[in-house]
Structure formats: C-alpha cells, structure tokens
Symmetry: C2
Subunit: 197 residues, 2 copies
DNA sequence: CCTACCATGTAAGACGTTACATGATTGG
DNA sequence: CCAATCATGTAACGTCTTACATGGTAGG
C-alpha cells in the first residue's frame, strides 16, 4: 500500500509519466522504497481508476505517446490522510536473524561466509544511503530541487530535515547490521570454530 | 521461502503436528519469523508433497486425528543446503522511513503521533525480545530444552550462543528505531513545529 | 455440561518478483 | 545507421494477510 503513497508523493511536486516515476524508483525514492516498472505501470492505472490521479496522453514524435499523470484533489486528500494517519506495522520477518539463530547446523566456512556477506550487503546499502544524504544536504538531487522549487522558502529547511531523517533511519540500520555481524564473527572465534565432528 | 526452513528447524528436533508448530510461531520462533496457521498447514502439505517431511495420521480420542510430521533425509539435506548456502537479501522497503522523509506534509500532532507510535511499537517488540533472551539464557523455553536434549553437551554453548545472536540482532534493531524516533521528536522541537500557515 | 484447548483447513485478495514482450525516438 | 534511452505494459508465480469455517477432546 506504500507504493501508492510513494507515487503520490512524487506526483505532488509536478506531473510525471510512468517512466519518469520509474527512474525515481531506481535512484532517490528507490533507496527508501523499491518498486519495479512492472508494478508501477499497473498501479498508476489502478490509481487513475480510483480517481486519485489523472493521465493525459501526449504525442511524442510521430507515432509514440506518453501518459503524463497529475494528482487530483481526491488524490491529494488521500495522500494527506496517509501522512497524517497511523502506520500499520508488519510482523517481524528477519531471514538473517532466523538463520543466525540456527547457525549451529552450519559448518565453519558457511557461518563465516554468511556473516561476511551480511557485512558486505549492508556496507553496500550504507554507501548508497550516505551518498544520498550528502546529495540531500547539497540539494543535489533533481527531485529535491523540483520539490524545493514549489515549496515556500521558509519551509525548505523542514523539507530537507525530513528527507535526512528518513535516510538516517536506514543509515542507522545498516550500521547496526554491520556491527552485529562483526560481533557474530568474533563469536565464531570465541566458540573455537571449527572443531566439530 | 524462510517459512519452510523455520518449520524444518523445528521439526528437526523431533516430530510435531501443525498445531504444535503453530504454537511455536506464536511464541519462540514467532519472535524471529511470524506465520499464521493458514500459512503453516498448507506449507506442511507442500513440504510433504516435495518429500521433505512425512506425516503420520494419529488417532486422538474416538473420532479425531492429528498429523505428526517428521523430517526425511531429503528434508534434512535441504535444510543443510539452506543453512550453508547464501541468503538472498530483499530490497529495502521501509514504510516508516518513507513516511518520515515526507513528514513536511503532516500537521504537528500527526507528526508527533507518528514518532510516538513508532517508539511504542518498537518498545513493545524490544520487551518481547529481551524477555526471550532471558529465557534463552535460563534455558527456559520448551523448544530450547527439547533441542538441547538431542544435542551433545559439548555443543550446548554453541546452540545457546547462536540463539542469542539471532535475538540480539532484533534487540539492536528495536533500540536503534527507538533512538531514531526520539531524535525525530527533538527535530520537531527544533523546527519549531507547528508554526505553519 | 461447559469451557478451554486441540486440530485442520479453505478462499479471496493484496502485494511483490521475475521473466517476457514490444516498439519509437533522439543524438551522434 | 546505430546505440542509448524513452515508453509501456502482460503473464505466471509465489508469498502473506484476513476472514471464514468446522469440529473433537479433556478436565473440572
């Protein structure tokens, strides 16, 4: 259900095509919420059917078209209801914690590889999010510039601060995952892996 | 796909019925990986069809039965392949970060309520996980006792240490979420919320 | 007898992934 | 003319949630 609101958030700063939106999901918002094109196009159609957005067919060259969407008042109201309403939390489902809890069945190399991979994975994510934070601070992303352009100057600091807040959560998360996996590696040392069987 | 391995992990310590497993998902493993009964029963049937487990119909009273499942050699091999193999990481999809990043559209009360709820939610999770950690240390859960009973004594420390590791990840996560939301609340103060419009 | 617990599912729908599929336009 | 990019989907499948549905047994 968040996909819908991520799309509305982007469309609220100005009209966009499915392709425009999809590119944002590959870069800026995509670091917060990923979605593939195969999910975006159908969702836009559903949102249009629900009256939240309206699409306008535009000519492109001689034969091609593109569909530019904009938010309707109903869509705006729906977005505000979402941002002002409560968030429902999904039950925890952590494959890495699950696996860690049963790691006694793994051999040494695999246990180490699991934790090494975990560190590598979250370091990759961390690098992306930290880079995005820097771009946010420098007002360096196209979407942010577009948004600030339609925002009164006295609200700019607020907009930037909340973007930071969102990404900081992910940065904290990545750091915690890395620290945890490093502790896991030390645990393997302490347990005197591999002296089984 | 982790559901299957969570179930195998539980079945590997001894035969169990769908109902037995379901209860574990409400308590011990359920803190790592949640699944409702409506998912567990069909999954057990699929696993049986795949030859990973075998079910035995048992008489209960005069008319009722229960189906006791045990792991087959193929199931054991599949489990070991999972625990020794790489974990595939899902793309990030964090509703709370997404919402935080767009909080400028919310009014003050809603913004505070969002962060307060976030703290309350993760404090609830934290309490459960810390309680589970204490039970693990005290060997106080039925599943853990059952598991240790079928584990050579020299491996007991290992088993307990990995259970701890799994839960510690979640505890770390909860603490980070709480600290982040508290920072968010201070940010609202600094931004001088609510002086809009 | 009645209540708590044991026991097992189906059905509909939302959400998400992966693969497949196609074609036009723009700039060099 | 060719490559990069623009542009938009469908199909199949798997996972997960929510709601619905049913009945037996054991202990007090």
């Amino acid at each position: 259900m968040s996909l819908r609101y991520a799309l509305l958030a982007l469309l609220r700063v100005g009209p966009k095509s499915g392709y425009d939106l999809q590119k944002q999901f590959d870069t800026s918002v995509g670091h917060l919420w990923h979605a593939p094109d195969s999910q975006i196009y159908p969702e836009l159609r559903k949102m249009e059917a629900a009256g939240l957005i309206e699409g306008e067919e535009q000519v492109r060259g001689t034969r091609a078209t593109r569909r530019l969407y904009h938010v309707t008042p109903a869509g705006d109201a729906d977005y505000l209801a979402w941002i002002n309403g409560p968030l429902s939390y999904a039950r925890v489902r952590e494959p890495a914690s699950l696996k860690a809890a049963y790691l006694e069945a793994a051999d040494e190399a695999s246990a180490r590889a699991f934790l090494d991979d975990h560190i590598a994975h979250w370091q990759g994510e961390l690098a992306q999010w930290e880079a995005e934070l820097e771009r946010v601070d420098a007002h360096g992303t196209p979407m942010l510039r577009e948004r600030l352009a339609v925002t009164p100057p006295e609200d700019h600091a607020r907009v930037v601060a909340f973007k930071r807040l969102g990404y900081e959560n992910l940065v904290d998360r990545a750091r915690a995952e890395i620290a945890w996996a490093e502790r896991g590696l030390r645990l393997l040392d302490e347990l005197g892996y591999p002296p089984r069987g």
